[in-house]
Symmetry: C2
C-alpha cells in the first residue's frame, strides 16, 4: 500500500527516523560515526521474573541534559539537535531547552561543531543552522522586545538547506564539508 | 555515619558514580565536555494520567550499541567504556560486548580517541587502557588458544594507572594529556 506518488520527503517519516537512517548509511559506508542517544528514563521499579528478561514496571521520562545526536567525522566532534515544526513562517524557540543551548555553547567553546537541523514540514525543507547563529537569537528572547521564534527567512538566509536524497535522506555531512573542510 | 577511616577509593562508590562525579567536575571547570549516555530502554507501554507526568508501565533493557561515555576535549573526540571487576589477576573479556568493540574500532578509524577504564576493586586500582591495545586481545579470544581475559599484569604494563584524588576522582584527562597532547 505504498503511495508511489508521494514525494520522498512526504512519506510520513519523522525527521528523527530520516536522520537515524542517514546515520546508519553513514556508518555502513564509513563516512562518520554518529549515534542518537537513548531517551533518558528514570527507572523506579523493575521486576525480575524467573527465566525471562527483567521488566521495568515503573519509570518516568527525564529531560535530556544534552542534545540528541553526537559523534565523530574526520577527527572532528559533531553535536546536534533535530527538530521539526508544522509552522510555516517561523520556528518556535520553546522547542529547545535551556540546557541544550548551554550544552551546544560548551561544545563550541571546546572546539567541537554544534548545529541544529530544523525541518519545516509544510515546506518540505530541512535546514542546517550553525549553533553560533542560534545563540544570539536564543539569548535575545529574554529581552523585552525579543522574538520567541526564529523567522523562516532567517533560516533561509543564515542556514543551509540540507540535500535530501536516498540513501542519505538528510545528508547533513555535505553541509559540514562545505562549511568546515 | 561516614566512616572516616575508609580510604577514598573504598567508599563504596561504583566506578560509574566516580566517573560521573569527575565528568561533572570537568564540565564545571571547563576542562572537557563528557557525558554518560542514558541506559537504552525499549518502551512498550506508557500511561498518561490526567494532571500528572506520563508513567512508563512496561519497558525492557536493550543492549547498548555504543560505549557508555563520549564527548569532547580540546577539539578531540573521546569515547570510552568503564568496567570494574572483583577479579584479582585478570579482567574477563565477557564484560565487553562485540558491538562495543566494533564501535571503538570505528572511533579509532575515524581519528577519535577510544579507550577503556578498568577498575580492579580488590587492588583499589583504576587503569586507562587504549582501545588499540584491547583489540588484538579481543580478536584473539576466538582462536583455539585465545585467552578469555586480560591479565592484570598486561594492564599494568600496557595501560596507565589513573590518578585518583578529589575532586577529579578518576582523573583520566591527565592520562589523555600524557598520551595525546
Ligand atoms: Mg530531543
Ligand atoms: Mg556499559
Amino acid at each position: 500500500s505504498v503511495n508511489r506518488n508521494q514525494s520522498f520527503s512526504n512519506r510520513g517519516m519523522t525527521l528523527e527516523e530520516d536522520i537515524n537512517a542517514t546515520n546508519q548509511y553513514y556508518l555502513t559506508h564509513d563516512i562518520c560515526v554518529i549515534h542518537k542517544k537513548p531517551t533518558p528514563v528514570q527507572i523506579v521499579k523493575v521486576d525480575y521474573p524467573k527465566r525471562s528478561a527483567a521488566v521495568i514496571k515503573e519509570a518516568y521520562f527525564k529531560q535530556a541534559s544534552t542534545t540528541d545526536y553526537n559523534g565523530l567525522y574526520r577527527g572532528h566532534y559533531l553535536d546536534f539537535e533535530a527538530k521539526e515544526t508544522r509552522n510555516k513562517t517561523s520556528f518556535p524557540l520553546h522547542n529547545f531547552h535551556e540546557h541544550q543551548i548551554k550544552h551546544m555553547k560548551d561544545i563550541v567553546k571546546h572546539d567541537g561543531i554544534a548545529f541544529v537541523i530544523i525541518r519545516f514540514k509544510a515546506h518540505e525543507k530541512t535546514y542546517f543552522l550553525d549553533a553560533t547563529k542560534l545563540f544570539p537569537i536564543w539569548d535575545r528572547q529574554y529581552l523585552t522586545a525579543g522574538r520567541k521564534s526564529i523567522p523562516h527567512q532567517f533560516i533561509i538566509d543564515e542556514g543551509i538547506e540540507i540535500p535530501t536524497h536516498y540513501p542519505a535522506i538528510v545528508d547533513y555531512i555535505k553541509v559540514i564539508d562545505q562549511l568546515f573542510f
